[in-house]
């Protein structure tokens, strides 16, 4: 079989970039609140739907869709924390209760999307998939095919990494997020407003999920399961990178992306169905948790 390995590498970079954008927010939230936040999948789906509404139905530009989607889903993320998880945490809910609550919230948000679509038909939200109509120019670099969307995904991932790096290391709020994530009590004792840090992180994380949602929606389709379809690979990235570790997540996103694309080649060569593609991320996730639950975090630990 003839495989264009350069194309596989490019595809891996694109998949990895998408996973990076999607997992950046989750790793921050998971690192801060110490429980797997399953409703994150619905932030991705909501982001895709809001982006779809703004850019396709209202006809605003795609960049406007990114900004509005980021802000709206960020606000939703804040409200979810303030309305559900903060009361739960204050009542001393166990980690299992928090996980179940996040699944419940995900269920509510996922099914609210078509309900909103039915009540306000102008939104054009429903269970049947819709598609972004933007026509992405595809161009060839030698033997490699690249579309405009892919190029933008990679650029967005690089831009996001640089922006988050600067934020986490240079800005006051970024340092506060890292401090709270590693030791909440010590952070509180040193005068950090932990509550505010948590609010900001939840909004920021939700907003990042929304951006990933638009990229995913533009690449495939927009429907209420858009988020759920990619949440387990995103968890794989977060676990492999080490929970709460942004630099680990960058590395892990590209490892998972590469593994998936090489895996597709391998699956085809073995004569298996390519729908097992998503299983590759599952296997990475399980192996990581069994062999090294702390993930790649130790590569990025500062002495």
């Amino acid at each position: 079989m003839d495989v264009n390995w350069l194309q596989v590498l490019v595809n891996s970079a694109v998949t990895g970039s998408l996973y990076l954008i999607a997992s950046a927010g989750l790793t921050l939230i998971y690192g801060l609140c110490k429980f797997p936040y399953f409703a994150y999948a619905e932030y991705i789906a909501l982001g895709a739907f809001i982006g779809y509404f703004v850019s396709e139905v209202m006809g605003v530009s795609l960049s406007g869709a990114f900004v509005i989607s980021f802000l709206v889903v960020g606000a939703i993320g804040f409200l979810c924390y303030r309305g559900i998880f903060q009361p739960l945490a204050r009542r001393g809910a166990t980690i299992i209760h928090l996980m179940v609550a996040s699944v419940a919230l995900g269920l509510i948000l996922r099914h609210l999307i078509p309900v909103f679509g039915d009540i306000f038909p102008v939104l054009e939200w429903s269970w049947s998939p819709s598609y972004f109509t933007a026509d992405w120019a595809a161009f060839n670099l030698g033997s490699v095919r690249i579309t405009g969307l892919w190029a933008w995904t990679v650029i967005a991932a690089i831009g996001l990494s640089i922006a988050l790096h600067i934020m986490l290391t240079k800005s006051k709020i970024g340092k506060a997020i890292r401090a709270t994530s590693s030791n909440p009590n010590l952070a509180l004792a040193s005068g950090i407003d932990v509550q505010k840090v948590i609010w900001i992180t939840w909004s920021l994380g939700a907003g990042l999920a929304a951006i990933a949602g638009i990229f995913r929606g533009a690449e495939t389709q927009v429907w209420p399961n858009t988020g759920w379809e990619m949440i387990l690979p995103v968890f794989a990235v977060v676990m492999l990178g080490g929970i709460g570790n942004f630099y680990g997540a960058i590395t892990a996103a590209f490892i998972v992306g590469l593994a998936e694309n090489i895996g597709v080649v391998a699956l085809t060569a073995l004569g298996l169905s390519t729908s097992y593609r998503i299983g590759i991320a599952f296997i990475i996730l399980i192996i990581t948790l069994i062999v090294k639950p702390q993930g790649l975090a130790m590569l990025f630990r500062r002495s």
């Binding site: 110490k34 429980f35 797997p36 559900i84 009361p87 739960l88 009542r91 809910a93 980690i95 299992i96 209760h97 996980m99 179940v100 609550a101 699944v103 419940a104 919230l105 995900g106 269920l107 509510i108 996922r110 099914h111 609210l112 078509p114 309900v115 039915d118 009540i119 387990l232 968890f235 676990m239 169905s273 729908s275 097992y276 998503i278 299983g279 599952f282 296997i283 996730l285 399980i286 948790l289 069994i290 639950p293």
Partner: protein
């Protein structure tokens, strides 16, 4: 479908899901294992039953073997999973469940892939009315439920059950007292999986077909609602939760036909499920029934001695 059939159908569903909620109650309620992949053991039991009955094996062997295969799978998952932290355990079981469903969905030679396959009913008497067939099913399901309930009660009231609660409350303390927590957790996961596998077999033989779409993660979540609503660590609570959730489910389906809503009612049903669970978690995390007290002969005797009227002459 007339009303009597509808009610009988509801009773069968309550029975099958009571087995599921009893098994999750053992795992989560008593031992504190967050089994977020309950549906996968249900699926394994269901497909084992379907494939074995197609091979002409009698139904009781199909049910038992389905339960055993599910238990073996529970054991395999427990090998790596139980040494992990609680949130990792939840993710691993959830993920494993998605992989199994993906395999069943993709491989056409296992029960017809995405399109599913038909399953022969366990006990079929030709020439009888559908009511009689449903009654036979009720008998079968409730016999199994009775066995599972008795096992749960006996187990949780035994020293073994007290170890389970100890592991839930403080793993390290239990280990310090010489209880091998990984062994106990693995055994509970196996037992819970066997019960779920049994329920899966009963489910598909009643519905007469099996397809991967029946085993979405929402099933796991429904069982979680049953346990959390009824009251974790209380076997009666698990039954109560299963009843209430199934009745709620049916009621919502009936309301769908009677009411005209601006939107698809099945969406609203899931939203109501979600809201219900959030309300339980925030306002009544212990569920409707509180945890059942530990009953032993020693505790009973102390209780008797404390009551003044029984205090006389009882020096045995």
């Amino acid at each position: 479908m007339d009303l009597s059939m509808y009610l009988l159908d509801l009773i069968v569903f309550i029975g099958i899901f009571s087995i599921m909620s009893l098994s999750l109650n053992l795992e989560y309620g008593f031992t504190g294992l967050p089994n977020f992949g309950k549906v996968v053991f249900f699926l394994i039991g269901a497909y084992s039953y379907a494939l074995l009955s197609q091979a002409g094996v009698p139904f009781y062997i199909c049910l038992i073997v389905g339960a055993i295969i599910a238990a073996v799978f529970g054991f395999l998952i427990s090998l790596p999973a139980l040494r992990l932290r609680i949130d990792y355990l939840a993710i691993v079981i959830l993920t494993a469940g998605e992989i199994i469903r993906l395999i069943v969905k993709t491989e056409d030679w296992i029960g017809g892939g995405d399109w599913g396959t038909s399953v022969a009913p366990a006990i079929a008497i030709s020439g009888t009315s559908p009511q009689v067939n449903i009654l036979i099913n009720i008998g079968l399901v409730y016999a199994c439920l009775f066995i599972c309930f008795v096992i749960s009660r006996l187990l949780t009231n035994s020293p073994y059950g007290r170890t389970m609660r100890a592991i839930r409350e403080d793993e390290v303390a239990a280990e310090a007292l010489g209880k091998d927590r990984a062994k106990y957790k693995a055994q509970i996961l196996m037992l819970g999986s066997a019960m779920a596998g049994l329920a899966g077999g009963l489910y598909v033989q009643y519905l007469h077909y099996v397809l991967p779409g029946m085993f979405m993660p929402i099933v796991t979540f429904t069982v979680w609602i049953m346990v959390l609503l009824g009251g974790p660590a209380n076997c009666w609570g698990a039954l109560l939760g299963a009843c209430l959730v199934q009745i709620f489910d049916r009621g919502a389906n009936l309301a769908k036909d009677l009411l005209t809503l601006p939107t698809d009612a099945s969406n609203l049903q899931y939203i109501l499920f979600g809201v219900l669970i959030l309300l339980i978690l925030i306002y009544r995390p212990q569920g409707l029934l509180k945890e059942s007290a530990i009953k032993t002969r020693a505790i009973n005797r102390i209780r008797k001695l404390k009551e003044p009227e029984n205090n006389k002459g009882d020096y045995k």
